[in-house]
C-alpha cells in the first residue's frame, strides 16, 4: 500500500481535542468535523491539508477515544499520518477508518515530498528513505480493505 503528498509538519503531543474540539462532536455529519479539524491548533490548517501527509512528533492523537478525530482527518483529505509515536487508540482508530498511519522518525519540512510504502516498510521525505515500524498483518489487511467496515463486509 503506497501513497504520497506534501508534508504538513506538526509538533508533539497533538491531542484529540486539538484535532476536533468537543463542541463539534454532536453530529453524524462528517463534513462538520473536516471543516473544523485542527481549529484550536491553527484555524488555517484545515484549508491546506487536503492531499497532504501529516508529519507529527511523539504521542500523536493522545487523549480521548473520539473517532471523529481520525474521520475528520480522512474527510479533510489527509493521505496519511506519520508520527514518531502514536497514542494507541488514535492509531487503532485510524486503521479502522482506513487512514494510513506510519510510525517513523523523520525530519520534517513543510511542503517536503513524502512518499510511503506500507508493505515495503519505508517512508521517504524529499528522497531520503527512513524505516517505518511494521504494522500487524491484521492491521495491514484492514487498511488495505479501506477500514474495518469494508474489511468486515468482505469477510462475512
Amino acid at each position: 500500500m503506497q501513497g504520497s503528498g506534501p508534508a504538513v509538519c506538526l509538533g508533539r503531543d497533538i491531542d484529540t481535542d486539538l484535532i476536533i474540539a468537543g463542541r463539534y462532536l454532536r453530529t453524524k455529519n462528517r463534513s462538520v468535523w473536516a471543516e473544523h479539524v485542527f481549529e484550536d491548533l491553527d484555524p488555517a490548517l484545515a484549508a491546506r491539508i487536503r492531499g497532504s501527509v501529516i508529519v507529527a512528533g511523539r504521542n500523536m492523537g493522545c487523549g480521548s477515544s473520539r473517532e471523529q478525530a481520525v474521520v475528520a482527518l480522512r474527510e479533510a483529505g489527509v493521505v496519511a499520518v506519520v508520527a514518531e509515536s502514536f497514542a494507541r487508540i488514535f492509531f487503532r482508530n485510524a486503521v479502522n477508518v482506513g487512514l494510513p498511519v506510519i510510525e517513523a522518525s523523520v525530519t520534517c519540512t513543510d511542503g517536503a515530498r513524502v512518499a510511503f510504502d506500507l508493505d515495503g516498510g519505508w517512508i521517504e521525505v524529499d528522497g531520503e528513505r527512513y524505516p517505518a515500524r511494521p504494522l500487524s498483518e491484521k492491521m495491514v489487511a484492514i487498511l488495505r480493505a479501506g477500514g474495518l467496515v469494508p474489511y468486515w463486509r468482505s469477510w462475512r
Binding site: 474540539a21 462532536l25 487523549g63 467496515v149
Partner: protein, 403 residues
C-alpha cells in the same frame, strides 16, 4: 509467571490475540458512531447483547435538540437490540461499570479512553474507538496486542492532606504523557493495599494520561469487599511480581497536594508553588474524582462555610449521589453555596453545564487540562477534591489543611 495482562489475555507480551470480551460499553457520544458503523457493516443480529452496555453520560440531560434526537435514536436501538441502557442521570460509564458489573479477570472494552479506570478491579480494561466497538457488538470479540507492563511500586501510607489524586498526578508526572504508550501499568507494593477502591479507581483512571493501555490493581480484600457491597462475589488474584519492563517507585509518605498546570497533564507542581492563582470556577466530579469518598472529603472542608467562587459538583453516579444524600454530605455541599449537577461527565469535555469563557480559570478534579478543553480561551488546573475545596473557599488555589 506472567503479568496480570498476560494472565488475563492468555499470551505473552508482544503477541496479538483475538479474545472474547466479557463486557463492552459505549456512551451517548461513541455509541452513536458505533451504531452508524454497525449499520454500514450490515449487521442486524447481535450475538451477545447481554455483554453490552450503553451508558448516557457525556451530554446528559441533552443540551440541544440535535443531541436529544441522537440520544433518542440510540435509546431506541438499545431497546430493540436488547442492550442494557443506563440513561441520563445514572452516572458516568466507568463508575456505573465499577458498581458490580466488572469483576476481576474480565476482559473489558469501552468506547471511551478512560476505560482503563476499571483495571482497579483486577480486570483487563481498555479504551477503543467506535468502529472497534461496532465490531465487538457484531462478533462479541476483538483483537489485542498483549502489552508489556510497567510496575508502579507503591510503598508507605498516604497522609492528609494528600490523597489518591495526588498520587495519580505524581505518577503521571514521573512517566510523562507518553511514558507508558502501548504498555500496561500495574500498581503493586505494600502501599497499594492501603488504598481504597475509590482511590484505586482514581489511580487507574489516569493511566491513559501516560499513554497506557491499562492501569491495573490485583484484586485483594479491598476489591472483594467493594464487590460484595454491590452484591457480587469475587476472589482475590495472586500477584506474581514478574516480568515488568521497568518499575517506577512511589513512596506514599512523600506525597503532598499537587496540581497539573495548563495545558499538559504531566506539568505537575506542588500546590504550594501555584497557591494564590485566581480562580473563576471550581469543578468537582468526573470519572477521576466524582466518587463518594471524593465528595465526602470535599464536604468535610466546605462544611459550615461559603465558597468564594462558582463551584460545580457532579456526582459520578446515582448511587454516589444517593449515598451523599443519605450521609448528609450533599447537604453540606449545597449549604456551602455549590451548584450540584446531575450524575454524568458535566463540563469536563467542554460541551455543557460549566463551559469556561475566554480567559477564565478553572480548578478541576478531572483528568485533562488540554488547551481549550473546557471552553475556548479557558485554562484548567487539575487537583484533588481537598485542594478543590480549600481553593473554592478562598477563590484562589489553596493548599488544603491537614484533616
Amino acid at each position: 509467571m506472567s503479568t496480570l495482562s498476560e494472565a488475563i489475555l492468555g499470551a505473552p507480551a508482544g503477541s496479538y490475540v483475538d479474545r472474547e470480551v466479557d463486557i463492552a460499553f459505549a456512551h451517548d457520544g461513541t455509541g452513536v458512531l458505533a451504531r452508524e458503523a454497525l449499520r454500514e457493516m450490515g449487521v442486524e443480529h447481535l450475538p451477545h447483547p447481554e455483554r453490552l452496555r450503553l451508558v448516557f453520560d457525556h451530554i446528559v440531560p441533552a443540551n440541544t435538540g440535535t443531541t436529544a434526537t441522537l440520544q433518542a435514536e440510540l435509546r431506541e436501538y438499545a431497546r430493540v437490540s436488547g442492550i442494557e441502557l443506563s440513561d441520563a442521570g445514572g452516572g458516568i460509564c466507568h463508575q456505573v461499570m465499577s458498581e458490580g458489573v466488572v469483576r476481576p479477570g474480565m476482559v473489558v472494552v469501552g468506547a471511551d479512553s478512560h476505560t482503563c479506570t476499571l483495571g482497579a478491579l483486577g480486570a483487563f480494561a481498555t479504551g477503543v474507538g467506535a468502529t472497534d466497538m461496532a465490531a465487538v457488538w457484531a462478533s462479541g470479540s476483538t483483537w489485542f496486542r498483549v502489552p508489556e507492563t510497567i510496575a508502579v511500586n507503591l510503598t508507605g501510607h498516604l497522609s492528609s492532606p494528600a490523597e489518591p489524586k495526588d498520587v495519580a498526578l505524581a505518577y503521571v508526572a514521573e512517566l510523562g504523557m507518553e511514558g507508558a504508550t502501548y504498555r500496561a501499568l500495574e500498581f503493586v507494593g505494600d502501599g497499594a493495599a492501603t488504598i481504597s477502591m475509590d482511590g484505586r479507581l482514581t489511580l487507574s483512571n489516569m493511566a491513559v494520561e501516560t499513554g497506557a493501555k491499562a492501569g491495573m490493581f490485583y484484586a485483594d480484600a479491598v476489591t472483594v469487599r467493594h464487590l460484595a457491597e454491590h452484591g457480587v462475589t469475587a476472589s482475590p488474584q495472586a500477584p506474581e511480581d514478574c516480568c515488568y519492563e521497568r518499575t517506577v517507585a512511589i513512596n506514599l509518605d512523600d506525597i503532598v497536594p499537587l496540581v497539573a498546570v495548563p495545558h499538559r497533564v504531566d506539568t505537575v507542581r506542588e500546590a504550594e508553588e501555584v497557591a494564590g492563582t485566581h480562580l473563576d470556577q471550581v469543578f468537582v466530579g468526573t470519572c477521576t474524582n466524582g466518587r463518594y469518598e471524593d465528595l465526602a472529603r470535599f464536604a468535610r472542608i466546605v462544611r459550615g462555610k461559603k465558597v468564594a467562587v462558582r463551584t460545580l459538583v457532579f456526582p459520578a453516579s446515582r448511587t454516589v449521589l444517593a449515598r451523599a444524600i443519605a450521609t448528609g454530605v450533599l447537604a453540606d455541599i449545597v449549604d456551602a453555596g455549590c451548584t450540584v449537577g446531575s450524575p454524568g461527565c458535566g463540563p469536563c469535555l467542554g460541551a455543557h453545564m460549566g463551559v469556561l469563557g475566554e480567559g477564565e480559570v478553572c480548578l478541576s478534579t478531572a483528568n485533562r487540562n488540554f488547551k481549550n478543553r473546557m471552553g475556548v480561551g479557558g485554562e484548567v488546573y487539575l487537583a484533588s477534591p481537598s485542594t478543590a475545596a480549600a481553593s473554592a473557599l478562598a477563590g484562589e488555589i489553596t493548599v488544603p489543611e491537614v484533616a
